[in-house]
Amino acid sequence: MDLQINEQQRLLKESVQKLAADLYPFEKREAIRLSEAGWSRDYWAQYAELGLAGLTVEEAYGGIGCGPFETMVVMEELGRSLAPEPFVATVLLGGGLIRHAGNEEQKERLLPGLCSGELLLAFAHLEEQARHELHDIATVAAKTADGYRLKGRKTLVLHGSDADVLVVAARLSGDRLDRDGIGLFLVAGDASGVSRQGHRTIDGRPAAEIVFQDVDVPSRDMLDAPGETLAVIERVADETIAALAAEGVGVMDEMLKMTIEHVGLRKQFGTEIASFQAIQHRLADMYIALEQARSMAIYAAGIGRDNDPERRGAGIAAAKVQLCRSLRYVGQQAIQLHGGIGMTMEYKVGHLFQRATAIEALFGGAEHHLQTLAAGGGLFAA
């Protein structure tokens, strides 16, 4: 057991901090948020220069081959600075699927572009009826002479309008709720039959509803995971949740920092509100919630590598439960202690709260994951 960050991780942290300090002062970030895309290709190029676009990709394909603890370090900083760039969509989701399920040819074709920042990926997976069930897929991939024809509708595709290549989950066989018979397909964002309706999520980030109307996909664009597609999706989802846990920690850390600063300046009835004990205890509880979530983010990074899906799933569910509960408490209290100013878009804390709320809803909230745990054998099974 070793809980210190190592030298490489420290350097990585500092370089992301430096990047964020440069790219995300409040007004600069507002300009990006209010732009049509809601994020910046220029910025993404700078990410790629630092190696962040290929953070988790093996060096053979142009990446820097880092693991979950490095991802944790990066995500915490991106969370703190509210970076809207497509790290989750492209690197963790799209990149993760290709890394885990792609064949050699597909990896060689796609990963270098991912690492250089030129190729944007997105994961077209969730469907309206599915809530957070990863296997609930109605989109159909019908076999054709030389490949497959996709038909269906996907929702909440993060950065779906911007992606050059969509990784699409579709059903090769079986019923909507079967765990078998799912396939993953690479589809160009502008392929014939693909229509994308972009929108913003509640935190101002871009996403899309995507309809696949008889989209033809050649066989070579089906990812190679015969019989294991759902397992790959679950692994990538688990890794992404672990990363979101770290992002959430960054978001909370920043909210707490801002709140401490605010109550130290704000006066009421002639006294700094920081001197009120009820406020102080609220800060203490926010801190406890943050640190407990931080512990679980570390736990999630570690257990996200576990090859036993049940153990990994339980650990990740536990991390998401703690994360969601902490995000809600810290976020709500940050707004409450800021008072009116926390309710406005003119102050960063409200944006952080929006992101906190979005992170909660991605891949299922506290109650969803608590069910998984309650039904299973427990985190401390003998």
């Binding site: 009826q129 809530r131 509640i202 008072g339 009116g340 406005t344 878009m345 003119e346 709320t357």
Partner: protein, 396 residues
Amino acid sequence: MDLDFTDEEAAFCEEVRDFVRKSLPRSIRQKMLFNRELTKDDLITWTRILDKKGWAVSHWPVEWGGMGWSPVKQALFIDVMQQEMAPDTLSFGTSMVGPIIYTFGNETQKKRFLPRIVNLEDWWCQGFSEPQAGSDLASLRTTAVRDGDDYVVNGQKTWTTLGQHADWIFCLVRTNREVKKQAGISFLLIDMTSPGVTVRPIQTIDGGYEINDVFLDNVRVPAENLVGEENRGWDYAKFLLQHERTGIARVGASKASLRRARELAEREGRDNSARLDLPHIRSRIALLEVELKALEITQYRVLSEESQSGGNSHSPAASILKVKGSEIQQAISEVMLDLAGPHALTLLTPADGHNDLDRSWAGTVAETYLNWRKVSIYGGSNEIQRNIIAKQLLAS
């Protein structure tokens, strides 16, 4: 002691319910259902429908258009209105400046302003809070200096809800800086079209524009717009805080929201694959129903005590209405957020003419959740309310 409705009370509720169901325009009802902002016209439309029925200011003195109902009857009225998704009238007029004017204003002021409040000919907004004076209102800095027949007003008001639509603003202003902070405050009515008044809408985290900064830059206000006596404004403001607490708990509105949450939870449960978080959501809804039922009765207890003592109750129970009322509203918004799951992320606008239960309901719940954070902040934050309760407990 008896909680049952009398026959008369039951019949009255029925009458109000029928009226709303017949008279409330469907488009307004739908906006209320999805917690979307009403336009200025929406509220004027509904206020005039109410006025025609004689119910726009039912709680006012009969002389100025009130119905002379008992406090319980008035509470039932509001409860049913809210349950039926009717918008509240614009409280800044009907529940704030109106009562101030008919209680402390002079005859000229009453005749000039009150009728225009009843039918929303004048849209009023509130100029109390300032950037450095939120819950600690008395530290306000906006000044009014007498100059001939006018006051010259300088300062900044903030969190001015719906100020962007307003014709008039009622302000607390400092008219004497020499005395202890509560003592030098006056209550002034200011025409929003006066030179020097600037309104700046502020976007809130739900994406809406509900609140505003109001800048007052050498605004000349005729002295005849002073309400009551100079330097007595704090008393009038305090009167407001104690007055008209019916409805602050928003029991009727929360009843409607919980009923809707139950309905949606059942439907979402049916639509969905097996395991799922929905039984737990149903438990949370049930628990909120319990707390709301308790709050409803607490509210009637406060009203009953006030009726008996012939005025304002000094029981700390009144603060419960604010604290629990706001906590329940917020908790319901969290249930809806969790019920929507991933769909809460999407910010979809419900299509016109949609069914009440279309999944598009989920597109507005996050906005409501974010927006509702305000209810524990405004109107005396819940921290202030707890201070008030504790002070009364420790003094007794």
